[in-house]
Amino acid sequence: MTSETAGWTRTALVERVFSILRDDLLDVGVDFTPQSNLVEAGLDSLAVTQLMLAIEESAGVWVDESLLTPENLESAESLAACVYDQLASA
């Protein structure tokens, strides 16, 4: 059974974060995956805030920049996990 928070599953969040990064924010190729390192893929200060705003629009939760640690920005998967935790605690 897949758990759900505020209408989102972890899998759906990973897909959403990944699609925002791949389609809207980063200039990446086919080798970019949900496990790719985001900083190495070009995520910078402007893009990360644009990403957080897009997530806020989709999921209704704002993740403060100070919560975005290197570990959370390791990949789309780890970032989605951070967002999911925020949703759960909201």
């Binding site: 924010l25 980063l26 200039d27 990446v28 900083v39 893929a41 070009g42 995520l43 910078d44 200060s45 402007l46 893009a47 990360v48 805030t49 644009q50 705003l53 403060d64 920049e65 100070s66 919560l67 975005l68 640690t69 290197p70 920005l73």
Partner: protein, 454 residues
């Protein structure tokens, strides 16, 4: 060796023209150009003749480096006339022999005075005079090298890419025309949306309205309003040791975010300015600071030449600067709002208008909008300086930093970068704008906030 792919002319970007307006102001009132500088502090090993030869080859392969800037038939948007570059002199390398002791420790050796002189120079863009190099060689063969360029030739990341490429070219690991032939550079050459575009105009008007709103609390700089005296720019560089750098970067990540530490440094800069105002027993209407943001493609190959940035503008009133953490939260909130409301794109649209307006008219409009002063000071955070580059032309890079010039107003600026495990803080100022004790006051508050000890 001229690249067969080089076009006859390359248009300046809107951001280039925005900076060109500052250049026109600098020339008109201060007798110097609006320049930027990148300094490398090197160990022994660099051969000046080899560097000079590579620069000549680089200019031949990349005509933008020595292209006259002008408007076609005197009207329209300005452009680099690359076809005329072969008739212009290549960037000049001047070698200076110094008797002074060489580099001692990071941040301890004084900056060679010739670097300040160069930053106060007047370049001639109509004759392709866009970049100059100064090499100061010490008795032990260590050297300081300054690249000084007219602001629109590179932005911060472009200048670092150029230095890295020059070294790679020297080592035979990059082609002669690599920087201008990248896909990203070609993409960046696409002209902006025409001036007549309605959407573009509306965006620019929206940005104008946003800036006009700031005039309700007019900013004030430490230099005061426009001063018609020759500028005499200097800068101070403070380099923190690895232990203190670690404390600072950890605080920056914790308070402002791992990818957005610039808000921590910006907040500390604002408070350092406030400390000097306080010492003068003055209170400005507000602090207005533009923060450059890089608009280059994220993750793709970056362009080398020309400016690809926009600005995020912040404004805080004196009541908001009393507590560092609250100030950071306010800056976070403003930055979020600016991005959310599309004001970065609106600002880019407004800068595009600078391509068509005479520089003097554009600068006058900007100054009038904020009632006299353009901003309180300039600020930039450039992250790691030349990441991954340990040597330049065979010489160990022992340190380095960027230093931009600042016109009046505001007459001062702060730029923060990291070189390996050391943080560099460069405070650029017009000498008559701050007394020595005020410079100390500024530095002490700034460093105190960084370390959490003030």
């Amino acid at each position: 060796m001229t690249s067969s792919r080089a076009p006859d002319a390359i248009p300046l970007t809107g951001a280039d023209c925005f900076l060109r307006a500052f250049d026109a102001e600098g020339r008109r009132y201060n007798g110097s150009s609006h320049l930027a500088q990148l300094v490398l502090r090197l160990g022994p090993g660099l051969d000046p003749e080899t560097l000079g030869a590579r620069i000549v080859e680089a200019a031949a392969a990349n005509p933008v480096l020595s292209s006259p800037i002008g408007r076609r038939f005197g009207v329209g948007a300005p452009e680099y006339r690359t076809r005329q570059a072969p008739r212009c002199a290549p960037p000049r390398l001047q070698v200076h022999r110094a008797d002074a002791p060489a580099w001692v420790a990071p941040g301890a050796a004084p900056v060679p005075p010739v670097f300040f002189e160069r930053l106060n120079d007047r370049f001639d863009p109509r004759r392709g005079d866009l970049l100059r190099l100064d090499l100061v060689v010490y008795p032990d063969a260590a050297a300081d090298l300054a690249f000084t360029w007219l602001h629109m030739l590179f932005d911060g990341s472009g200048s670092e890419r150029f230095v890295a490429w020059l070294d790679a070219y020297h080592r035979g690991e990059a082609g002669a025309d690599a920087p201008s032939a990248s896909d990203a550079e070609i993409r960046a050459k696409q002209p902006p949306i025409p001036l007549g575009s309605r959407d573009r105009g509306q965006q620019a008007m929206r940005w104008q309205g946003f800036v006009r709103g700031m005039a309700q609390h007019p900013p004030r700089s430490l230099a005061g309003g426009r001063r018609r005296v020759p500028q005499d720019l200097r800068y101070r560089v403070v380099t923190l040791d690895p232990a203190r750098t670690r404390v600072v970067t950890e605080r920056a990540s914790a308070l402002a975010g791992f990818l957005t530490p610039m808000l921590f440094y910006l907040a500390a800069s604002i408070r350092a300015h406030a400390a000097v105002f306080q010492a003068r027993n003055q209170q400005p209407g507000s602090y207005v600071v533009p923060l450059p943001v890089n608009l280059r493609a994220k993750g793709g190959v970056g362009a080398t030449f020309r400016t690809h940035v926009s600005l995020v503008w912040f404004q805080v009133v004196p009541e908001q600067v009393g507590d560092l953490e609250e100030l950071i939260e306010e800056l976070k909130s403003q930055r979020r709002r600016v991005i959310k409301e599309g004001l970065i794109e609106a600002g880019t649209a407004a800068m595009d208008f600078a391509r068509y307006a005479p520089s003097r008219v554009y600068a006058a409009m900007a100054r009038r909008t904020l009632r006299g002063e353009l901003c309180s000071f300039f600020f930039a955070y450039t992250d790691q300086f030349l990441p991954g580059l340990d040597h330049f032309f065979g010489a160990e890079i022992r340190g380095g930093f960027p230093a931009p010039s600042v016109p009046a107003s505001p007459g001062s600026g702060a730029i923060v970068c990291l070189r390996g495990d050391r943080l560099n803080f460069t405070h650029v100022y017009q000498r008559s704008a701050l007394h020595d004790d005020e410079l100390d006051c500024f530095r002490d508050r700034f460093i105190g906030d960084l370390l959490g000890s003030s």
